[in-house]
Amino acid sequence: MDFFGRPKADVSADSASKTAKHVDPAKDRAIPWVEKYRPKNINEVTAQEEVVQVLRSSLETKNLPHLLFYGPPGTGKTSTILALTRDMYGPDAAKTRVLELNASDERGISVIREKVKNFARAVVSQADPKYPSPPYKIVILDEADSMTGDAQAALRRIMEKYSRITRFCLVCNYVSRIIEPLASRCTKFRFKSLPRDQAIARVKEVAELEYVNCADGAVDALVECAEGDLRRAMMSLQSASRMVQGRALDAEMVAELVGVIPADFVKTLRGAWGVSSAQKIRGLVDDVVYSGYPASRVLSQLHDLVIEDQQLNSLQKAKIAIVMASVDKALSDGADEQLQLFDMMMQASQITAQQTV
């Protein structure tokens, strides 16, 4: 076993693993599946047809505008741009022609001024003749919405000045956090949440490739819990596979793994509204806290239940929603979970009772 391998060895093993026939299984396991099963070329990107179509035509014409990708997490923004660069330059040339900056650890104006600028004005390197290799480089700024305003402002001129030899691709969750002058220089692409069936198909595919034994409903539950975030679904699948060790993975285990509270329990909480005494509600709240369920999670699951509830009228739902909103705010400020939850339950209980009078 390789004890002395450099720390980065496992990360770079990702690119090696797809060519190598035999991979050391222990080493192989350490790679997150999210990385391992990233789409390798643009045609493998599932969903996001419009975006893919535009990018594909840009591959043919060798012309690419500055890009701005935005959308919820886990919808394939980073995967798409990485796949595109690979298609454009081939795996070897991509290393010298693409600068990927993850804004979450290297942000600030100094990085833009030095690293990005130096890269942007460098001469385009030798191309790989087997690929389209248009005569420009690409700078990928991942998580661009966490860049400071200053850093973004510094980018403005750089983007225009070197546009002949460098294209930028900004990737972010919230387009509103990108300053207007930057956004107007880019072609915007919105990545929508992954459709359920496509996410399910992809998770199933990976589960088969990794020999994870899934019972019926397990994959559905995984995708359900991830709320359209494919990365989260993959991560949960990988964690789950380590836990089950050959046994079949079922929906219940998935729920426990990703921290979902059992539906029955939430229903009991809802059932207490309007009928139970304060003492009883207190007992229920204590149960929540002692079982270790996070209050924020209880809140969001109760909220889902309330929205679909037939017994409550719209006015009541609206009132309950207001209560939940203020409790959620208090919780994120760090208030005591037990008290806040108790408060929410009592108020919701009163609101529910109003109808029966």
């Binding site: 076993m1 004890f3 002395f4 391998g5 720390p7 980065k8 060895a9 496992d10 990360v11 222990a26 396991r29 350490a30 790679i31 997150p32 990385e35 997490p73 979450s104 650890d105 975030d229 990365r231 989260r232 991560m235 949960s236 990988q238 964690s239 380590r242 836990m243 426990e256 793994l257 990703v258 921290g259 005494s277 304060a278 207190r282 806290v289 002692y290 079982s291 270790g292 369920y293 996070p294 209050a295 924020s296 999670r297 409790v327 208090a330 919780l331 994120s332 400020d333 760090g334 208030a335 005591d336 979970e337 008290l339 806040q340 108790f342 408060d343 009592m346 108020q347 209980s349 009163q350």
Partner: protein, 351 residues
């Protein structure tokens, strides 16, 4: 002489007394030779740390228990030096980032990078990864959590992180999705009684069943607390009498006194008297949220059904203020005054 809580802490996974399903899972994880990042969460006194220690032992064998405390110096970007105590064995390292205050990001990043870059060299060790245990992970600042996010993926090859926290609410989503969530629920009252009986047997004492039940319900399903209470009662009077009073911590008795005073009389003079008592509690370093919560729960028991919702609401409101505010006494007093006004109005409208 060690406290019973420490003395009888189970060291191996097999010895854990409750949550057998969870124990089984942990055992599988530990024995598979590979471990994902873990996020262990649950209320206090449920046995989170005990379980983490047991998992470490299961992976690395008894030598994981040979702990040493070392002091390390970290330097912040603004050149300030931070001294942090670190507990480590040959295989793992434990940190409590709340020591570092707002500089926890620096500590986390430096520490994890350092660990990740040094390999496990001991020839006997079968595992090629080290483990970083982060206690009180919910106290980590957002910056530190974001820093964790990338390091957790980047250095997964030779380092695993175990986060220990009371709630997942304050852990950011991206970190949660990189971890396997392990929920450790509080033991039920019966389980607390069982554990107390085991400890009593080892200590060679006997507990009357009714007394054990009393302690268990007084402990609020907190095992740590139950055992401390048992030991305190033992020191005070042994053999136990059936009807012996369970020793509550002094401050809890005091909170009861305050609540009773507020229920008895609602006047400015009484408020003044209560202020003194509140100060008394604060000077004994009882956390203000605990005081407020304790008083509120006592008051709720004391008032009529129709008032309860209102009181809870006010308690929640002022506790929230307390978190955002600076001076605890102001909010505690405001709550007491509010309660008095509500209760007084209610009493006057009654006849």
């Amino acid at each position: 002489m060690a406290l019973w809580v420490e003395k009888h802490r189970p060291a191996a996974l097999d010895k854990l007394s409750f949550h057998s399903g969870l124990t089984e899972h942990l055992k599988q994880l530990a024995s598979s030779g590979d471990l994902p990042h873990l996020l262990v969460y649950g209320p206090t006194g449920a046995g989170k740390r005990t379980r983490i220690a047991a998992v470490l032992r299961e992976i690395y064998g008894p030598s994981a228990e040979k702990l040493k405390v070392s002091q390390r110096v970290f330097e912040t970007p603004s050149r300030r030096k931070l001294d942090i105590n670190i507990i480590s064995s040959n295989y793992h390292i434990e940190v409590n980032p709340s020591d570092a205050g707002i500089y926890d990001r620096v500590v986390i990043q430096d520490l994890i990078k350092e660990i990740a870059q040094t390999q496990q060299v001991a020839a006997s060790s079968a595992r090629k990864f080290k483990i970083v245990v982060i206690h009180e992970a919910d106290a980590l600042s957002r910056d530190a959590q974001h820093a964790l996010r990338r390091t957790m993926e980047k250095y997964m090859g030779n380092m695993r992180v175990i986060l220990c926290s009371t709630s997942t609410g304050k852990i950011i989503g991206p970190v949660q999705s990189r971890c396997l969530l392990v929920r450790v629920a509080a033991p039920s009252v019966d389980e607390v009684v069982d554990v107390m009986n085991i400890v009593a047997k080892k200590e060679g004492i006997s507990i009357p069943p009714s007394f054990a039940a009393q302690i268990a319900s007084g402990s609020q399903r907190n095992l740590h607390r139950a055992l401390l209470m048992l030991e305190a009662s033992y020191v005070r009077q042994y053999p136990f009498a059936e009807a012996q009073d369970v020793l509550l911590p002094e401050w809890e008795e005091y909170i009861k006194v305050i609540a009773a005073a507020a229920l008895k009389q609602q006047t400015p003079a009484q408020l003044l008297a209560i202020r003194k008592q509140l100060y008394e509690l604060l000077t004994h370093c009882i956390p203000p949220p605990t005081i407020l919560k304790g008083i509120a729960m006592q008051l709720i028991d004391g008032v009529e059904e129709e008032l309860k919702a209102e009181i809870v609401h006010q308690a929640a409101f002022y506790e929230h203020r307390l978190q955002n505010g600076q001076k605890a006494i102001v909010h505690l007093e405001a709550f007491m005054a509010k309660f008095m006004s509500i209760y007084k109005r209610h009493l006057m409208e009654l006849p």
